[in-house]
């Protein structure tokens, strides 16, 4: 496919330097990971792959990642102070170089431990110019960009679930920009990803959890003021 650029892909994003892929993209990635976790983790280990592992300190990738976990945007001027802020909050943070296999050079696996001891793992890559791609949640291969408010629904792989969910979205006036379906094995767990044109209200998320065979519902909004969407 031919590359396509809009005006604000060329002039923008507004960001904290020094590198769109190593700083801005890293912050965006971690913020999405935090959104997937649904709450602020108490402990985070960042497994850094490839170029991330080699140059993370010089590009402030470490600070950007922690800033994202704290819910900051790539343009937040407090990004630089994120390690200090995390420490003051008592959040345990560590960085470990790791070969994550045949992935993009700027890839990180974010392993988060939540207050109740639950663990959430998110893997993603910073693919250039501040853009990112999420490639794994809790070890399952999936794919989305984080450019849209994203709805992630885990369900049992049986006929009719997709139809029921899209019907519910339709009834509530939610427009789907992109949608994809991933499953590990026929009849077992599957995950549906909806990239939406708007944020979604909490009561609709609750209704989604009541759909037959839906196991849990996560929502990753775009704006920083609504980051605490619990996993339902």
């Amino acid at each position: 496919m031919k590359k396509k650029y809009g005006v604000f892909d060329i002039i923008g994003p507004i960001m904290i330097g020094p590198s769109s892929s190593h700083t801005a993209g890293a912050a965006k990635l971690a913020k999405i990971a935090r959104g997937i976790a649904g709450e602020e983790p108490v402990e985070v280990i960042f497994y850094l792959h490839g170029s991330f592992s080699k140059t993370y300190k010089g590009h402030g990738t470490d600070r950007a990642l922690v800033a994202g976990i704290l819910g900051m945007d790539p343009a937040d001027e407090n990004l630089k102070e994120s390690l200090k802020l995390a420490k003051m909050k008592g959040m345990k943070v560590s960085f470990e170089p790791k070969d994550l296999g045949d992935v993009h050079p700027n890839t990180v696996r974010v392993d988060m431990k939540l207050k109740d001891g639950k663990e959430v793992s998110v893997t993603g890559s910073s693919i250039g110019g501040g853009a990112v791609e999420i490639s794994q949640i809790d070890g399952e291969d999936i794919q989305f960009s984080g450019n849209y408010p994203t709805l992630l629904i885990s369900q049992r792989d049986v006929p009719g679930v997709v139809a029921n969910i899209s019907k519910l979205l339709y009834e509530n006036g939610i427009n789907i920009a992109y949608m994809s379906l991933f499953r590990s094995q026929k009849g077992r767990d599957a995950m549906m990803i909806f990239e939406l044109d708007q944020n979604i209200e909490r009561d609709i998320l609750e209704k989604l959890t009541e759909v037959d065979c839906v196991e849990h519902v996560r929502f990753v909004p775009l704006t920083s003021d609504v980051i605490n969407y619990p996993v339902m």
Binding site: K2, K3, K4, Y5, G6, V7, F8, D9, I10, I11, G12, P13, I14, M15, I16, G17, P18, S19, S20, T23, A24, K54, T55, K57, G58, H59, G60, R63, A75, E77, L79, K80, E81, L83, K84, K87, M88, G128, G129, G130
Partner: protein, 311 residues
């Protein structure tokens, strides 16, 4: 953007009797579905950050996180005040602003990637210099930014704006071509003249490799931003005097891309070849990062790593 190349851009501007800036703004409205006001205001936001990033390093000494660069924008600012520069106010101011943006970027300050973070000094430096030295009004600056974005999109779609893919010519070269087009438009030149200025910039930046010391966006990036701003202004002056480029803009973009593709990887943002591979380049890298896996010898500016004592 649904515009294939420079040739099509000129055709569409001429059919609609529009400047590049106005045409690109309308094109963005059509493609994104957003209103004119929304798009315009988003560009104003970019301009505000440009104002910040161009002035911060001139008003105070800004030092990078690694300590490798810093304070040069401030030096040039002071030099300018002495009024004895060789190349005059416009050039020295543009250089100081470009250095400021690079220093702000390397110190983890706020910037606009335009088109990238590494080349973020060139367009803002030229715009702010035009505002102050040629009394360009805000509306015209914004339209100049739309013109430069259109030129940048054509480069990105037909070649690359990434140093890892095409070397520094793709980052600083593209930024300077964008800035040159903006200057020509703001000074009343035709769309054709804008692209002529872009073409001249590329002719003068082709082959520029990306060879950052220790892989950091600092040396030689900051000074290449200063030089890119100068290149943009000189190309604009040539074109405004009536000089044209024998090689059309689209061909210079194609040349940039083919040169980029044939560049060895060591010269494409890997921090291995060129200046990074020199004796001094390697020594600086060692000083910054210390020897392998030895964090204690690390000289990075670690102030923010130490939290205050907690009670």
């Amino acid at each position: 953007m649904n515009i294939k190349n420079g040739k099509e851009l000129l055709k569409r501007c001429s059919e609609n009797n529009m400047t590049i800036g106005e045409f690109i703004l309308q094109q963005e409205m059509e493609e994104s579905g957003a209103s004119r006001e929304e798009i315009y205001n988003r560009m104003v936001e970019n301009l505000r950050v440009m104002e910040y990033s161009t002035s911060k390093g001139v008003n105070e000494k800004v030092i990078s996180v690694s300590g490798l660069i810093g304070g040069d924008a401030y030096r040039l600012g002071k030099y300018l005040k002495n009024g004895k520069s060789v190349s005059g106010n416009v050039m020295v101011k543009a250089m100081s602003y470009a250095l400021s943006c690079s220093e702000v970027n390397a110190s983890m300050g706020k910037i606009v990637a335009c088109p990238t973070a590494g080349a973020n000094g060139i367009l803002p430096a030229v715009m702010m210099t035009m505002k102050e030295e040629h009394d360009i009004e805000e509306h015209d600056l914004i339209m100049g930014l739309f013109a430069s974005a259109g030129v940048g999109a054509i480069i990105a779609q037909n070649a690359t704006i990434s140093g890892a893919e095409g070397g520094c010519q793709a980052e600083c070269g593209s930024a300077a071509a964008m800035a040159a087009a903006a200057v020509v438009e703001m000074m009343g030149g035709t769309p054709e003249m804008c692209l002529n200025a872009g073409a001249i910039v590329f002719k003068n930046t082709l082959g520029l490799v990306c060879d950052p010391i220790a892989g950091l966006v600092e040396v030689p990036c900051a000074k290449r931003n200063a030089s890119g701003a100068v290149s943009a202004i000189t190309a604009a002056d040539m074109v405004l005097a009536g000089v044209t480029s024998r090689i059309p803009f689209d061909d210079t973009v194609a040349a940039m891309y083919s040169i980029g593709k044939s560049m060895p990887e060591a010269l494409r943002e890997t921090g291995i070849g060129g200046l990074a591979g020199t004796k001094t380049g390697k020594k600086l890298k060692k000083e910054i990062f210390g020897s392998k896996n030895e964090k204690s010898s690390n000289k990075m500016n670690d102030d923010t790593f130490d939290a205050p004592d907690q009670e």
